[in-house]
């Protein structure tokens, strides 16, 4: 039971990392970056490639972070920026297209077969009679550090304040001299870098890489972001951890295990019906 909870927390941490990327992009660019899940996949392949070349874990993660950040910036500049000001439907469909594009390119380059990877075999440690794997601890610690760091960054630095301003009112922020395009690009970069960390944590839990690795965690993390209240950073963390724990708990009950995905998405629908702004979301009034 305790192990299930810890596994759930771990998975929840991964979801939270991905959900942070979703929620930041959604809050600032006002778009659902459907390709975010696939950036995780690209990060996983970057780790795989570097690891097979050098055999070192830390450089692999660094390479993954760099690759993902660049990819995030490139997709934003090439695919999303030309559509700024177009209808949200157009942007959403393009994002789906980008997601599909990344998946298919990965399939063409690496093939459809799943590849196993050995990362994070650090053994286990005992805490009060409960054995916990070190990789889980790394995941949880990393999530914690990133979340605290991100919250500080957003609330305490000038750039963070600019981000908040852009998410509040883009036009007014521009009038105040904020480089809106730059802020949006930066948001994509940060979100994608977080995705790279998420892919590292993901690979420590599930050590195999496939081209469709990112899509399910991506959608689930978006669910987590919505549950927590999209646009809210603490909301993304709470939503992610909640969803991770629920998934592991449901998987541990034999009668519920086949319906795990259904339960998670059902939760999303219920939340949206009862409280469409999510647990921590702010109410916004639409103005004409």
């Amino acid at each position: 039971m305790i192990n299930t909870l810890i596994n759930g927390l771990c998975l929840g941490g991964i979801f939270a990392l991905i959900a942070l990327g979703y929620t930041m992009v959604y809050g600032i660019a006002k778009m659902l970056n459907f390709a975010h899940g696939d950036i995780i996949m690209v990060g996983a392949y970057a780790i795989l490639t570097t690891l097979s070349l050098t055999g070192l874990t830390v450089p692999a993660v660094v390479v993954a972070v760099v690759v993902c950040t660049l990819l995030g910036i490139v997709t934003e500049k090439v695919a999303y920026r030309p559509l700024r000001g177009a209808s949200p439907l157009a942007v959403l469909i393009t994002a789906i297209g980008v997601s599909y594009l990344l998946q298919s390119v990965a399939q063409l380059v690496y093939g459809t077969k799943s590849r196993s990877i050995s990362i994070g075999n650090f053994g286990t440690v005992e805490f009060f009679g409960v054995s916990i794997s070190v990789s889980s601890l790394i995941t949880l610690g990393l999530c914690l550090v990133i979340m605290v760091g991100l919250t500080l960054f957003i609330n305490k630095t000038r750039i963070g304040c600019a981000m908040l301003a852009v998410s509040e009112d883009r036009g007014a922020a521009q009038l105040m001299g904020i480089n809106v395009n730059g802020i949006i690009t930066l948001t994509f970069a940060i979100g994608s870098a977080l995705a790279a960390f998420a892919s590292m944590c993901y690979l420590m839990q599930i050590p195999s890489v496939t081209p469709t690795l990112g899509s399910m965690p991506g959608i689930k993390a978006f669910t987590a972001a919505v549950i927590g209240g999209i646009g809210s950073i603490p909301g993304a963390m709470i939503g992610g951890i909640l969803l991770g724990v629920i998934e592991k708990l449901a998987l541990s009950v034999p009668a519920l295990a086949p319906y795990t995905t259904a339960i998670e998405f059902g939760l999303l629908i219920v939340i949206l019906l009862v409280k469409p702004t999510g647990l921590l979301g702010k109410k916004t009034r639409e103005k004409v």
Binding site: V98, S104, Q107, Y259
Partner: protein, 385 residues
Amino acid sequence: MKKPSNFKLKYIINYILVLALFIPTAIMGFTGSIKGSSALLLTQIAYSMVLAVSLNLVVGFLGELSLGHAGFMCVGAYIGCFCANYMHAVIPSKLAVLVISMLIGGISAAVFGLIIGLPCLRLKGDYLAIVTLAFGEIVRTVFMNQPVFGGALGLTTQKYGKLLYIIAFVMVLFTVFVSQNLMRSKHGRAIQSIRDNEIASRAMGVNVTYYKLIIFVISAFFAGVAGVIYGHNTTPVDYSFFSFNYSIEILVMVVLGGMGNISGSIISAAVLTFINVKLQTQLSGDLAALKQLIYALILIVMVMWNNAPALRGIREKVNIRSLIDFFTEKVLKKQETAPEGGIDPPASASWDKIPTKIPMDAILSTDITPDNPYEADAPKKEEKR
């Protein structure tokens, strides 16, 4: 001015398109010169058309993205075919079994459409897309785990042969008929006004929730019917078919054909399904990725071409309609001694073309939101009522 005959041609062109595919193949089918695999392919094309046209109602005309179309299809396929298997023993007429099972499949999908449409009253845009996606996955998981429906092995269905093929094409005609007439009516205009500017249309007295729900239910109904056709064409009904990827595939058909253009959906559904099946049977393996790559490029390029603000100038000069106008003008000038210099009515006046968003938004942005170039198009914030 455009002649009224031109208008009628636009109206019946969809039927002509469908019949042009249907009649020659039907004759070939009855004379026996058509192969079994071709009949399968044609039925596949038929249900793809039904799916594309019905998804176009939601995406193209209502302006909301539904990623759960395969989910509605799944509901229709499982429930419709399940009932058909039972009716098969009781009702001797195959035609009756097919028609009734399609009705059942369609109505059950429509009921699900109503259920999923209710959140749609509160949500829009990205949220709705995710909810429909989630719905599709839920439906698939639930049906997969029901032993009554065959579980992971799938639901075995009866074969109906050529009859299914004919019924499928009749269903295509029916779908086109309903969609087209709906969109030509007062209700259709109301629905399109919601797409162009929801707040403005609400202010004009359009019952937004009612119309959203109506369109959702109708679209789900036809997806359910398409599911029944699929189920009888492909046995066993495979739950993995109705994945998110298939919803995207239908979306690709709609986007390639043109959002809000029924003829486009028909043509692109036929072409894409044909290419898809041919590629699937002749080549395999990594080509699946190539197909996906092409789909991705279609989505990105088509959407950008049609929506990027920077391309607005080029877009208005270079499009098929202007090319057609150019040629007809030349031909007309040759025939008529005194060419008329009249101006065509604005493109938005024709019923099946996406009306440009400029007039409404220009009015709104000049009057009320003066200096917000980014969000002038549509309201982004979630609405609370």
